[in-house]
Protein backbone atom coordinates (compact mmCIF):
# COMPACT_ATOMS: atom_id res chain seq x y z
CA UNK A 1 0.00 0.00 0.00
CA UNK A 2 1.34 3.42 -0.86
CA UNK A 3 0.47 6.61 0.93
CA UNK A 4 0.22 9.63 -1.33
CA UNK A 5 1.44 13.05 -0.37
CA UNK A 6 -1.20 15.35 0.89
CA UNK A 7 -2.01 18.97 1.49
CA UNK A 8 -3.58 20.57 4.53
CA UNK A 9 -5.97 23.44 3.94
CA UNK A 10 -7.55 25.48 6.67
CA UNK A 11 -10.16 28.07 7.49
CA UNK A 12 -8.07 29.94 10.05
CA UNK A 13 -8.25 33.30 8.27
CA UNK A 14 -12.04 33.09 7.84
CA UNK A 15 -12.57 32.05 11.46
CA UNK A 16 -10.15 34.64 12.81
CA UNK A 17 -11.82 37.43 10.88
CA UNK A 18 -15.23 36.21 12.02
CA UNK A 19 -13.96 36.38 15.60
CA UNK A 20 -12.63 39.91 14.94
CA UNK A 21 -9.15 38.92 16.02
CA UNK A 22 -5.84 40.16 14.69
CA UNK A 23 -3.12 37.72 13.67
CA UNK A 24 -1.01 38.90 16.61
CA UNK A 25 -3.87 38.34 19.07
CA UNK A 26 -4.51 34.85 17.74
CA UNK A 27 -0.79 34.09 17.91
CA UNK A 28 -0.69 35.24 21.51
CA UNK A 29 -3.63 33.00 22.43
CA UNK A 30 -2.15 29.86 20.89
CA UNK A 31 1.52 30.51 21.65
CA UNK A 32 2.69 31.20 18.11
CA UNK A 33 4.22 34.23 16.46
CA UNK A 34 2.28 36.49 14.11
CA UNK A 35 4.51 35.26 11.28
CA UNK A 36 3.49 31.68 11.98
CA UNK A 37 -0.21 32.62 11.91
CA UNK A 38 0.42 34.38 8.58
CA UNK A 39 2.16 31.25 7.22
CA UNK A 40 -0.68 28.99 8.43
CA UNK A 41 -3.33 31.23 6.86
CA UNK A 42 -1.41 31.27 3.60
CA UNK A 43 -1.18 27.46 3.86
CA UNK A 44 2.60 27.64 3.63
CA UNK A 45 2.99 25.95 6.98
CA UNK A 46 1.02 23.01 8.34
CA UNK A 47 0.93 23.32 12.14
CA UNK A 48 1.63 20.53 14.57
CA UNK A 49 -1.30 18.59 15.96
CA UNK A 50 -0.91 20.45 19.25
CA UNK A 51 -1.12 23.87 17.60
CA UNK A 52 -3.99 22.73 15.39
CA UNK A 53 -5.96 21.71 18.49
CA UNK A 54 -5.17 25.02 20.19
CA UNK A 55 -6.40 26.94 17.14
CA UNK A 56 -9.55 24.85 16.91
CA UNK A 57 -10.20 25.31 20.63
CA UNK A 58 -9.75 29.07 20.28
CA UNK A 59 -12.44 29.14 17.60
CA UNK A 60 -14.56 26.62 19.55
CA UNK A 61 -14.71 24.33 16.55
CA UNK A 62 -13.66 20.72 16.01
CA UNK A 63 -10.22 20.34 14.46
CA UNK A 64 -11.53 18.77 11.26
CA UNK A 65 -13.71 21.80 10.72
CA UNK A 66 -10.72 24.12 10.88
CA UNK A 67 -8.24 21.89 9.06
CA UNK A 68 -8.83 19.63 6.07
CA UNK A 69 -6.48 17.05 4.64
CA UNK A 70 -6.50 16.60 0.87
CA UNK A 71 -4.72 13.49 -0.32
CA UNK A 72 -3.11 13.74 -3.73
CA UNK A 73 -3.80 11.00 -6.26
Amino acid sequence: MTVGRGRVSNGVRRLREAAAMTQAELGLRVGATRQTIIAIEAEKYAPSLELAFKLARTFERPVDEVFRFHEDD
Binding site: G31, T33, R34, Q35, T36, A39, K44, P47, E50
Partner: protein, 150 residues
Protein backbone atom coordinates in the same frame (compact mmCIF):
# COMPACT_ATOMS: atom_id res chain seq x y z
CA UNK B 1 10.23 40.61 9.10
CA UNK B 2 10.55 38.65 12.35
CA UNK B 3 13.46 39.04 14.74
CA UNK B 4 14.59 35.51 13.86
CA UNK B 5 14.71 36.39 10.18
CA UNK B 6 16.69 39.55 10.95
CA UNK B 7 19.10 37.45 13.01
CA UNK B 8 19.54 35.06 10.08
CA UNK B 9 20.31 37.97 7.72
CA UNK B 10 22.81 39.34 10.25
CA UNK B 11 24.45 35.94 10.64
CA UNK B 12 24.67 35.41 6.87
CA UNK B 13 26.16 38.87 6.32
CA UNK B 14 28.64 38.63 9.20
CA UNK B 15 29.68 35.10 8.19
CA UNK B 16 30.33 36.27 4.63
CA UNK B 17 32.31 39.32 5.77
CA UNK B 18 34.45 37.32 8.21
CA UNK B 19 35.16 34.72 5.53
CA UNK B 20 36.17 37.52 3.14
CA UNK B 21 38.57 38.80 5.82
CA UNK B 22 39.98 35.29 6.09
CA UNK B 23 40.24 34.95 2.30
CA UNK B 24 41.98 38.33 2.12
CA UNK B 25 44.69 37.03 4.45
CA UNK B 26 44.95 33.46 3.15
CA UNK B 27 44.73 34.03 -0.60
CA UNK B 28 46.30 36.16 -3.26
CA UNK B 29 44.79 36.44 -6.75
CA UNK B 30 42.56 33.46 -6.03
CA UNK B 31 45.38 31.19 -4.87
CA UNK B 32 46.10 30.12 -1.30
CA UNK B 33 49.38 31.58 -0.09
CA UNK B 34 51.71 30.05 2.45
CA UNK B 35 51.46 32.17 5.61
CA UNK B 36 54.06 32.22 8.37
CA UNK B 37 52.70 30.34 11.39
CA UNK B 38 52.64 33.52 13.49
CA UNK B 39 50.52 35.38 10.92
CA UNK B 40 48.22 32.37 10.49
CA UNK B 41 47.72 32.23 14.27
CA UNK B 42 47.13 35.99 14.43
CA UNK B 43 44.53 35.74 11.65
CA UNK B 44 42.87 32.80 13.37
CA UNK B 45 42.58 34.70 16.69
CA UNK B 46 41.27 37.80 14.90
CA UNK B 47 38.70 35.63 13.14
CA UNK B 48 37.53 34.16 16.46
CA UNK B 49 37.24 37.64 17.98
CA UNK B 50 35.22 38.84 14.97
CA UNK B 51 32.99 35.79 15.21
CA UNK B 52 32.35 36.39 18.92
CA UNK B 53 31.58 40.07 18.30
CA UNK B 54 29.23 39.09 15.45
CA UNK B 55 27.40 36.73 17.82
CA UNK B 56 27.27 39.21 20.73
CA UNK B 57 25.81 42.16 18.80
CA UNK B 58 22.42 40.52 18.00
CA UNK B 59 22.29 38.99 21.49
CA UNK B 60 22.69 42.44 23.07
CA UNK B 61 20.05 43.93 20.77
CA UNK B 62 17.74 40.99 21.47
CA UNK B 63 17.96 41.59 25.21
CA UNK B 64 15.99 44.82 24.72
CA UNK B 65 12.92 42.89 23.56
CA UNK B 66 13.02 39.36 25.01
CA UNK B 67 9.40 38.62 23.99
CA UNK B 68 10.29 38.94 20.30
CA UNK B 69 13.03 36.35 20.71
CA UNK B 70 10.75 33.53 21.78
CA UNK B 71 10.74 30.80 19.16
CA UNK B 72 7.55 28.97 18.33
CA UNK B 73 7.22 25.56 16.66
CA UNK B 74 7.68 26.95 13.12
CA UNK B 75 10.87 28.80 14.11
CA UNK B 76 12.20 25.62 15.72
CA UNK B 77 11.28 23.53 12.66
CA UNK B 78 13.05 26.04 10.40
CA UNK B 79 16.11 26.01 12.67
CA UNK B 80 16.15 22.21 12.59
CA UNK B 81 16.05 22.21 8.78
CA UNK B 82 18.89 24.73 8.68
CA UNK B 83 20.93 22.61 11.11
CA UNK B 84 20.32 19.54 8.94
CA UNK B 85 21.62 21.29 5.82
CA UNK B 86 24.58 22.64 7.79
CA UNK B 87 25.39 19.05 8.71
CA UNK B 88 25.12 17.89 5.08
CA UNK B 89 27.58 20.59 3.98
CA UNK B 90 30.11 19.65 6.68
CA UNK B 91 29.87 15.95 5.86
CA UNK B 92 30.23 16.52 2.11
CA UNK B 93 33.05 19.07 2.42
CA UNK B 94 35.05 17.01 4.92
CA UNK B 95 34.73 13.95 2.70
CA UNK B 96 35.83 15.93 -0.36
CA UNK B 97 38.92 17.07 1.58
CA UNK B 98 39.65 13.53 2.76
CA UNK B 99 39.34 12.15 -0.79
CA UNK B 100 41.65 14.91 -2.04
CA UNK B 101 44.26 14.09 0.58
CA UNK B 102 44.00 10.35 -0.09
CA UNK B 103 44.18 10.88 -3.85
CA UNK B 104 47.28 13.04 -3.45
CA UNK B 105 48.97 10.27 -1.49
CA UNK B 106 47.85 7.43 -3.73
CA UNK B 107 48.39 9.04 -7.13
CA UNK B 108 51.24 11.44 -6.41
CA UNK B 109 53.06 10.30 -9.56
CA UNK B 110 50.20 11.26 -11.88
CA UNK B 111 49.10 14.58 -13.30
CA UNK B 112 45.46 15.23 -12.46
CA UNK B 113 43.16 15.81 -15.43
CA UNK B 114 40.98 18.15 -13.39
CA UNK B 115 41.88 21.04 -11.13
CA UNK B 116 42.24 19.83 -7.57
CA UNK B 117 42.79 21.67 -4.34
CA UNK B 118 46.38 21.83 -3.24
CA UNK B 119 46.18 20.83 0.39
CA UNK B 120 49.87 20.16 0.78
CA UNK B 121 50.48 23.09 3.12
CA UNK B 122 49.17 23.64 6.63
CA UNK B 123 47.84 27.05 5.57
CA UNK B 124 45.80 25.50 2.77
CA UNK B 125 44.38 22.87 5.08
CA UNK B 126 43.46 25.45 7.73
CA UNK B 127 41.83 27.66 5.10
CA UNK B 128 39.91 24.71 3.61
CA UNK B 129 38.63 23.57 7.03
CA UNK B 130 37.62 27.08 8.10
CA UNK B 131 35.97 27.68 4.73
CA UNK B 132 33.98 24.49 5.29
CA UNK B 133 32.67 25.87 8.59
CA UNK B 134 31.81 29.24 7.05
CA UNK B 135 30.16 27.61 4.05
CA UNK B 136 28.10 25.36 6.32
CA UNK B 137 26.96 28.35 8.39
CA UNK B 138 26.14 30.34 5.24
CA UNK B 139 24.10 27.45 3.81
CA UNK B 140 22.27 27.07 7.13
CA UNK B 141 21.29 30.75 7.19
CA UNK B 142 20.35 30.68 3.49
CA UNK B 143 18.03 27.70 4.14
CA UNK B 144 16.53 29.48 7.16
CA UNK B 145 15.93 32.65 5.12
CA UNK B 146 14.47 30.67 2.22
CA UNK B 147 12.05 28.98 4.62
CA UNK B 148 10.98 32.30 6.15
CA UNK B 149 10.52 34.00 2.81
CA UNK B 150 8.95 31.28 0.67
Amino acid sequence: MSEHEKAAWWSLASTTLIWLFLAMRFTDAGRIVELPASLALETYIEMIVLWIVAAIVPAVLAAKDPAAQVKDERDRAIDALGDRWEGYVVVIAVNVLVVHLLARGLYSDRTPSVTILDLSSTTALIFALLTTLFLAEAVKQAVVLWQYRR
